[in-house]
């Protein structure tokens, strides 16, 4: 009798187990979602730069890394230096005129308005066309928007002073909002 009972229990367990296995939904394969920025741990951060396409109708991205800095404005200077260096890709074009240098980048006390002070080459060596101005400003503002999302507006200065435009087109008398350039 004991054996019969035991057999019934075992069979029931096997049956139940088999039923459970048969009705089991295949399990979902979850892919890893979390990303670890290895570069950041090593004292550098990866950045995204935007360069104009050859037809000046769009932008291409390039990733690079720069050393991290305690002050945001110093980090901006490093990113802008990379941008001024130009694209590695043959498909992209450097919109900055010859000899352009960033004299200084600084943030206001709220850390939300970024001032980018360029040397006069930005204006004097520029061959001004709407396409050139929009590509040049677009590459700056898109890069700021992605690499420094906390910055709300950017004021372009030339030799420490505000300018009306770079070459007669885009209004620079007031700060530009990076998000509007994405």
């Amino acid at each position: 009798m004991k054996w019969v009972l035991l057999t019934v229990v075992v069979l029931a367990l096997i049956g139940g187990g088999a039923y459970y296995v048969l009705t089991l939904e295949p399990t979902e394969i979850e892919e890893p979602v979390e990303e670890i920025d290895v570069a950041e741990e090593m004292g550098t951060r990866s950045i995204t730069l935007f360069f104009s396409t050859a037809d000046a109708q769009g932008f291409l991205r390039e990733s690079r890394s720069v050393p991290t800095r305690r002050h945001r404005d110093e980090e901006v200077e490093l990113v802008m230096a990379e941008l001024l260096r130009g694209p590695r890709s043959q498909a992209a074009v450097n919109a900055f005129p010859r000899g352009t240098k960033l004299r200084r980048a600084f943030l206001d006390s709220s850390q939300r308005i970024l001032y980018l002070d360029f040397n006069t080459a930005l204006v004097s060596n520029l061959n001004p066309g709407s396409a050139t101005e929009l590509a040049l400003l677009g590459s700056i503002l898109r890069t700021v928007a992605i690499d420094f999302p906390e910055i709300e507006s950017v004021q372009i200065l030339v030799d420490g002073l505000e300018v009306e435009t770079l070459g007669g087109h885009i209004d620079l008398t007031r700060p530009l909002r990076p998000e509007n350039w994405l």
Binding site: E28, I29, E35, A91, N127, G129, A131, E164, H169
Partner: protein, 524 residues
């Protein structure tokens, strides 16, 4: 969902040359590759990089041409799930792959062209393949289908062998339809004020072009007819969003206006009251009429046109091939345009400069305001570092945003210049009053220049041009061509071409004038 249907229709049109259709997905689930096409055991493979727009995800994926003699490229289901960062679920028994993309469950079946989603079906040009123990998805899913289904963006750069994935920043956020007795109101909700233009040239269809608009086609779509609106579909284009509203045959006229400080686009569609007296007005192409927007108090009556030849004096503008100078060409075209328009008795032309003299940007707009101009057209020539770039483009001002003003006010309130700035900010908003007309004028000018002169069309665009800020009238800036391109430059310096360009501009002005006259007439 109608957006999907339209999309499928497009795909079906392009399937004529594709392998034999696989039919319903279930029946085709285990079908072998279509006859005449063999699947390769060691297919051509390329390793590409897949990046996320934020620059953080950087994965290498393999793309394979799995079908002999065909160019279709496939990506492994596992790679696809990894780069999209979505859940993957593979059922080997029925060879089905399920991807959970955002809120949608998309089911791919080996051998089938259809992708079954939660609410809609999509047909690929090429069936899903089976290789190395898993499903391989045609790359067209990533490049063509995904951006249509979701707010995700996909950029493919074949030269550098990489794919960049991102998220579209949506600013056309929703659609509301309210039915009245004889009217149906359609509202598009925007997260920021955007300029738009309603094209009513197609019978029973209104096409709303939203400049700088970004939308998710799933948000702006209609499941079933509501009132006088039969259907709404939307799609994303480069630089603008298009919303197509298909009207009932009962609709007789509509009105378009901006509400809530420009953050709502309202279309009020009206049905003629039913009468027993036969309608004497013949029905047909004129069934849809435009009523003037109520949001504006001003009417545009084009009598005095201000033409602004860009640059001048010491400010030469762009310098091009063979030392060609922008200031000379803009002046030459402006003088031609003046000559052409002067033949008409009903249009008066004022030039901001008639010789090679310097004029500030603000002075140009101020002059137009002082002259009481009804139109302002600034003429320019383009320049770019790559000499291959060419073509014509027309700009109108990006509307000033109230949040932007608040931001400026916040940052400036520590300075003493507050009062002066306030004046400045309000003056900025002046062009906003005319933004719809400026868009219409820009479209008219761009179409005439591109079509009549056969120039590469770079499109109507918006940007923050200094010379357009503060214009108290419809105002645009035209880039006639690239001085830095050989072909464009040889045209720009040719006197006959300058006259043809001036003719095209004159035609556009006259057409715009007629459009504005018709609007005023109807409002009486």
């Amino acid at each position: 969902m109608r957006a999907a249907r339209t999309f499928i229709a497009v795909l079906i049109l392009t399937t004529a040359l594709a392998p034999a259709p696989a039919g319903a997905q279930d029946a085709a689930s285990l079908a072998p590759p279509p006859a005449g096409i063999t699947q390769l055991d060691s297919p051509p493979t390329a390793t590409w990089r897949a990046l996320h727009a934020d620059g953080r995800v950087d994965t290498r994926i393999e793309l394979k041409q799995l079908l002999g003699g065909r160019e279709e490229v496939f990506v492994a289901g596992s790679d696809l799930a990894e780069i999209l960062q979505v859940g993957r679920f593979w059922r080997p028994d029925v060879r089905k792959l399920v991807l959970r993309v955002d809120d949608q469950r998309l089911t791919f079946t080996v051998g089938a062209r259809s992708v079954v989603g939660a609410q809609r079906a999509i047909l690929l040009r090429t069936p899903v393949a089976f290789h190395e123990g898993q499903a391989w998805i045609p790359l067209e899913f990533l490049t063509d289908v995904l951006p249509e289904l979701t707010a995700r963006t996909v950029e493919v750069d074949p030269e550098r062998q990489r794919i960049t994935l991102g998220q579209r920043r949506v600013n056309v956020t929703g659609l509301d339809i309210r039915r009245g007795e004889d009217t149906t109101e359609l509202r598009l909700r925007l997260s920021e004020p955007l300029a738009f233009r309603v094209d009513d040239s197609r019978l029973h269809d209104l096409v709303i072009k939203i400049y700088g608009g970004a939308l998710d086609p799933r948000d702006i779509a209609l499941g079933q007819p509501q009132g006088l609106v039969n259907d709404v579909t939307s799609r994303q284009e480069e630089g603008f969003a298009l919303v197509e509203v298909s009207l009932s045959e009962l609709a007789t006229r509509y009105q378009s206006l901006a509400e809530d400080e420009g953050t709502t686009i309202l279309l009020r569609i009206e049905q003629a009251p039913v009468t027993l007296i036969p309608d004497p007005v013949p029905r047909g192409p004129h069934i849809v009429q435009t009523l003037p927007p109520e949001s504006r108090g001003r009417e545009v009556n084009v009598r005095r046109v201000v033409i602004d030849p860009g640059h001048g004096g010491t400010e030469v503008g762009a310098v091009g091939v063979g030392g060609l100078v922008e200031k000379d060409i803009t002046l030459a075209v402006a003088l031609q345009l003046e000559r052409i328009l002067e033949r008409r008795e009903d249009i008066e032309v004022v030039l901001t400069r008639t010789d090679d003299s310097f004029l500030g940007l603000v002075e140009r707009t101020e002059m137009a305001n002082r002259e009481g101009a009804d139109l302002f057209i600034s003429l320019h020539c383009n320049a770019w570092a790559d000499p291959r770039a060419r073509g014509v483009e027309t700009y109108f001002l990006a509307p000033a945003k109230s949040e932007w003003d608040a931001q400026v006010a916040r940052t400036e309130n520590t300075s003493t210049a507050a009062a002066e700035d306030l004046d400045f900010i309000l003056w900025d908003l002046v062009q906003n009053l005319y933004i719809q007309e400026s868009a219409t004028l820009a479209e008219e000018v761009q179409t005439r220049l591109a079509e009549d002169l056969g120039l590469p069309n770079r499109g109507v665009k918006q940007a923050g041009f200094r010379v357009l800020v503060g214009a108290f009238m419809p105002a645009i800036l035209v880039e006639l061509g690239f001085l830095t391109n050989d072909d464009d430059a040889s045209r720009l310096r040719d006197e006959r071409w300058q006259r043809d360009a001036a003719e095209a501009l004159a035609d556009a002005i006259v057409e715009f004038r007629a459009r504005m006259d018709a609007l005023r007439e109807r409002s009486r």
